[in-house]
Amino acid sequence: MTGTNNNQNSIADIAEMGQQIRRDIIKMLLISGSGHSGGPLGLADIFASLYFRILKRDSSNPNWPERDYFFLSAGHLAPVWYATLARAGYFPIEELSTLRKINTRLQGHPAPAYTHGAPGVEVASGSLGQGMSIAVGTCLGLRLDKKPNRVVVLHGDGELDEGQVWESMMTAGHYGLDNLTAIVDRNFCQIDNRTDKVMEIEPLADKWRAFRWNVIECDGHNVEEFIGAMEEAQATRGKPSVVIAKTFMGRGVSFMEDNYKWHGVPPNQEQAKQALLEIPPTKFGDFITFEWEEEVPETAKQS
């Protein structure tokens, strides 16, 4: 499932990949001992859909001039991105165990590949709210060169508190950038609490519309629905589109699900064990098997 012929991947395979990415996230975070569990787990289906269906890419040549550009504005979500990039062939999956360790390419928050960061990362993020501006600049440059590449930027919902996001939303609307698609990870959670407690952003769709965007809402855990939403977004002419994807923080792990307290902490060994029981192994296989893991079914051992 690596390579570029994305449209061949079945919905079932993509969904299974999402599940594998969840397992990868748990393992990465257990090894690193620090990092964000909740958001990344909630985005596994979306990232699988993006990298195994939506984005035009060539993992053997991350700078392929015809690639689509993907920006992760909310940099703390890096674990799901790294797992996906590894699964998509940008770097060896074993490297996932270097997350957040000294000299790694898998920085706690993404650094671009051409500096000390991971292949597939175009620009740094981690300080929230900056990604859409970069996406807008990319879109303007591509449009000036009459290039068909598409640009996708992903935001957390809490991240939308940052004023810079509204500046760039306004700019994107002003220029009618239809080569731009934004995704909002609408998990209703941020660090301190649920979003309506920390800072109410509803009515969210109205806001985007008033900023001259086309709004599509969907279930971020339904791969087919999300892919449909992205296709609709990319087919829309004359204005940028946003896909507001409803997700659950900590998706797939009962004791993390929909619980903002899992925003920024890794599981301990006990919790990881439990989590991996709740997310069954997939045909893609794990990047590492811990001693304490129970025997996994034969089919899941090879990728």
Binding site: R100, K101, I102, T104, G108, Q190, I191, M199
Partner: protein, 321 residues
């Protein structure tokens, strides 16, 4: 040489939090602004105990600084809490106009400063905040050395009424060595160790590193004076110049970029008052990276070994000059 002992480890951010809770009890004008990092910067306890005096402003640091200004205008004592990078860098222009130029007494309480924030990586390692804050007129900049001193610094910040104050502290638990009742006056350095060959001027977590470095040097027969320069602005120029005159060589140590920080402030002072050789222990004009705090301190040259080396180097220069 006077031995300085650690009585255990606690985080400086906890010192801020504990002092806040102490003062909040007596002073009902204290209000806290939370930028969606409340558990990390440890204002969650305040939010729980005084929900009506805690204002969640979401992830929007620019707005936070303006809101703090407005609260100060109506007589509140606003505590703007955030990570260093997002407390100083993100809302710089807001701090400049709405707080410093407007001379409003807001307490900017910045946790997670410096390279020891570790695994989060460069975007979260605030290594430029001393520069940003000390260049502003009407700003006070304090970087305490341990849990107890952070408590004292926060309490002392209440007395700063002519403008904002920036308190810089850290995430990790670190040795406590300044004592529960140590001396503390904003703008006045504390001489922790007496010595004659050179003076180490340090702030923040580097003070403890300097204590350890002084022990190593002492064994090698090198006698260093140690100044805990907890206040970077206003700078205790008298203490610096006295040390320059009396020891003839200076090493500065800070968990910050080599440019524009404590070392730079000391260099400005020496150049105008009593030029002597100075060596800088600081991050050498580079961004950090992920890793654990201790490893990063070594790799980026802000540790006791770096201080030992710098003292030796400056002594060579002192002799040859």
């Amino acid at each position: 040489m006077k031995r300085i002992q650690s009585t255990g480890e606690k985080a400086t951010r906890q010192g801020f939090s504990d002092a806040l809770m102490e003062l909040a009890e007596e002073n009902s004008d204290i209000v806290v602004l939370g930028g969606d990092v409340s558990p990390s910067v440890k204002v969650d306890v305040f939010a729980k105990k005084y929900p009506e005096r805690f204002f969640s402003v979401g992830v929007s640091e620019a707005d936070m600084m303006g809101i703090a200004a407005g609260l100060a205008l109506v007589g509140k004592v606003p505590i703007a809490s955030a990570y260093g990078e997002f407390a100083a860098g993100r809302p710089f222009d807001q701090i400049r106009q709405s707080l410093a130029y407007s001379e409003l007494p807001v307490k900017i309480c910045a946790s997670h400063c410096g390279i020891t924030v570790g695994p989060d990586g460069a975007t979260h390692q605030s290594l430029e905040d001393i520069a940003l804050m000390r260049v502003l007129p009407h700003m006070t900049v304090v970087s305490p050395a341990d849990y107890h001193e952070t408590k004292r610094a926060f309490k002392a910040s209440m007395g700063v009424t002519g403008g904002p104050i920036y308190l810089r502290y850290f995430r990790d638990a670190t040795p406590m060595f300044t004592g529960e009742d140590g001396p503390f006056e904003i703008g006045r350095a504390n001489r922790l160790i007496d010595g004659s060959d050179a003076t180490v001027i340090a702030c923040g977590l580097q003070v403890w590193e300097a204590v350890k470095a002084a022990e190593v040097l002492d064994k090698e027969g090198i006698s260093v004076r140690l100044l805990n320069m907890h206040t970077i602005k206003p700078l205790d120029t008298a203490a610096i110049l006295d040390s320059a005159k009396e020891t003839g060589a200076i090493v500065t140590a800070e968990d910050h970029q080599i440019h524009c920080g404590l070392g730079s402030a000391v260099a400005e002072c020496l150049a105008q008052g009593h030029p002597v050789p100075q060596e800088f222990v600081a991050v050498k004009d580079t961004f950090g990276e992920s890793g654990n705090g201790a490893d990063l301190m070594e790799k980026y040259g802000v540790s006791r070994t770096a201080i030992v080396d710098a003292v030796k180097k400056v002594l060579k220069r002192k002799k040859s000059s």
